[in-house]
Subunit: 328 residues, 2 copies
């Protein structure tokens, strides 16, 4: 009998979500556990697999499950290990894919969250049918998944696609990024980056803004968006600045892999046109002339709540996969 | 009978070199014609093929030739066309690969010069056995060929790998690049870029330098190198500055494709350690921490005079090629 379903896991620093997905990208059934609650990785895997097995049993049993795909921070696609993840409770190198196969009795494959998002977009989303595109995730940080010739790029060590940590500002004013470097695009074009821009403007200028009603240290990217929607000049300028910097960086990425499209995903994309317009303008101003107005910039079409699980599940459907799946 | 040889063509704006190459990368026989002499592309192809056929006949006849590979400006690997090349006498779109197969009676495949160099390095040079590396050509301009998973990256339109036109300086001081954009790494880390840095320093400072013996507008990168070899402080500083900028940009490239190595090729690499040291230092200062001191920077091992012909010939040996070869 053909196995019609896969399990997708979206492991974040706070929550781990998981669900059963069919080949059309429907999430049939999902649940979650608290990642931080389990300081012992064995206990975490025991609970996760126990909870997943409940969903599996409700859906007809493990015989219907082709495998497990997981998106996780610092996941190495080649080895199946999670390596030195700063935001997870488990230090060092964790053989996560193997631990899951051992418990579930089906194969498992893992990758980082942005690569999983790219797989999801290619399998079920706006990049369906595309062979060359770049996925940029604009959340707390800036992540990326690069697809060339229909495959996610993993590179020599499995960690390719860290575009959030390429530099956009190289002078003395460059912001310190969470990675320890200065001037990374993540420090400007993430939700945190937008909030930092707002705080800088509020502190260093006297310009009027709706944002001044809030305690300055608590301003979020959502607040900036809400103010911009009320036609607040400073808030609109913040999105302009953000889009300008990100667009200039996208032009660099185009020169690398000549993608058909760049797909934007994540919380910050809720800003819509107010972010998209400066991105597209700046990208086309900065790109080599033969790509001017040629490369599409698209918002992801996947539902936020499902996208990460879908992306992870797509790892299992991938028949051209470059890495083997673990087996029990 | 196995066909043991291929023809490699290295088309430049001034000269077109070509030669017969065996599977071990020996150039058995080579010659050249003047590119600029032929304003009619048909006449150019007639003469080129006539001259190549002389070499072929001397080597035992066309039955021994597996095909023709060519490296040319603005060559589109997918279509076999040369498209709107600024430095060639023929305007518009030229179906070069087809024109060569028609005349020679063997298949032909083309790519741009930097991609050809990458193929050559992977087939015969220091990148032999590597699956993931980036070739950077430091000549009059800065070119690049990106290899991922053993294949040159061509992207959606065939023009991927224009890393010379990614930006290193984004403020008002940024230099105008030949491409029309400002601040491209090509405007700093090419032979021309080194000469421009020298001219700027000579004009805007009163610092002593051996370079002051030359007419300022005629200073070349070779002059700067010669002065540096004589321990000239300004000349050494120019290479330091160049290496610093290029190294910072290489760090960005690493974040994209996580290569095993970056291979540098072309005239400027003759500078040796004086260029290599600041490149490596700056690259490791600017790269995301888990790649620090992990990515090799190597000089090409191919003889300058043969490299382009070798690279072009490697297109024909490529059994995994993504583009078909033209046939008569």
């Amino acid at each position: 009998m053909e196995k019609p379903y896969v399990l997708g896991i979206d492991m974040g620093g706070t929550n781990t979500k998981f669900g059963i997905v069919d080949a059309r990208g429907n999430v049939l059934n999902s649940s979650s556990i608290k990642t931080q609650k389990y300081t012992d990785i064995n206990e975490y895997c025991d609970v996760l697999c126990h909870e997943m097995m409940k969903l599996v049993d409700a859906q007809g049993g493990i015989e219907l499950i082709r495998g497990v795909g997981a998106g996780a921070p610092n996941a190495n696609y080649y080895t199946g290990n999670i390596e030195n993840a700063a935001n997870l409770p488990w230090k060092g190198v964790v053989p996560f894919a193997q631990m899951i196969s051992d418990r579930m009795g089906v194969p498992c494959r893992i990758t980082n969250d942005a690569n999983a998002a790219a797989m999801g977009e290619m399998t079920y989303g706006v990049a369906k049918g595309m062979k060359n595109f770049i996925m940029i995730t604009l959340g707390t940080g800036v992540g990326s998944g690069i697809v060339i010739d229909g495959k996610v790029v993993y590179g020599h060590d499995g960690f390719a696609g860290e575009l959030g940590h390429t530099k956009i500002i190289r002078d003395s004013s460059a912001r310190l990024c969470g990675c320890g470097q200065k001037g990374c695009i993540e420090a400007y074009a993430s939700a945190n980056g937008v909030a930092r821009t707002a705080k800088e403007l509020l502190k260093t200028t006297n310009r009027p803004s709706l944002l001044r009603k809030l305690p300055v240290e608590e301003v979020t990217s959502k607040d900036v968006f809400d103010a911009a929607m009320q036609d607040d000049e400073m808030a609109k300028e913040i999105f302009d600045y953000t889009g300008n910097l990100l667009g200039a960086k996208l032009a660099d990425f185009i020169a690398f892999s000549a993608p058909e499209a760049i797909v934007l995903f994540g919380g910050l994309t809720k800003a819509g046109d107010i972010l998209m317009q400066p991105i597209v303008r700046s990208m086309n101003e900065n790109v080599v002339r033969f790509w001017k107005d040629k490369v599409k910039v698209l918002f992801s079409s996947l539902k936020d709540s499902d996208a990460a699980i879908l992306g992870a599940s797509a790892l299992v459907w991938d028949v051209d996969a470059q890495a083997p799946m673990t087996t029990k």
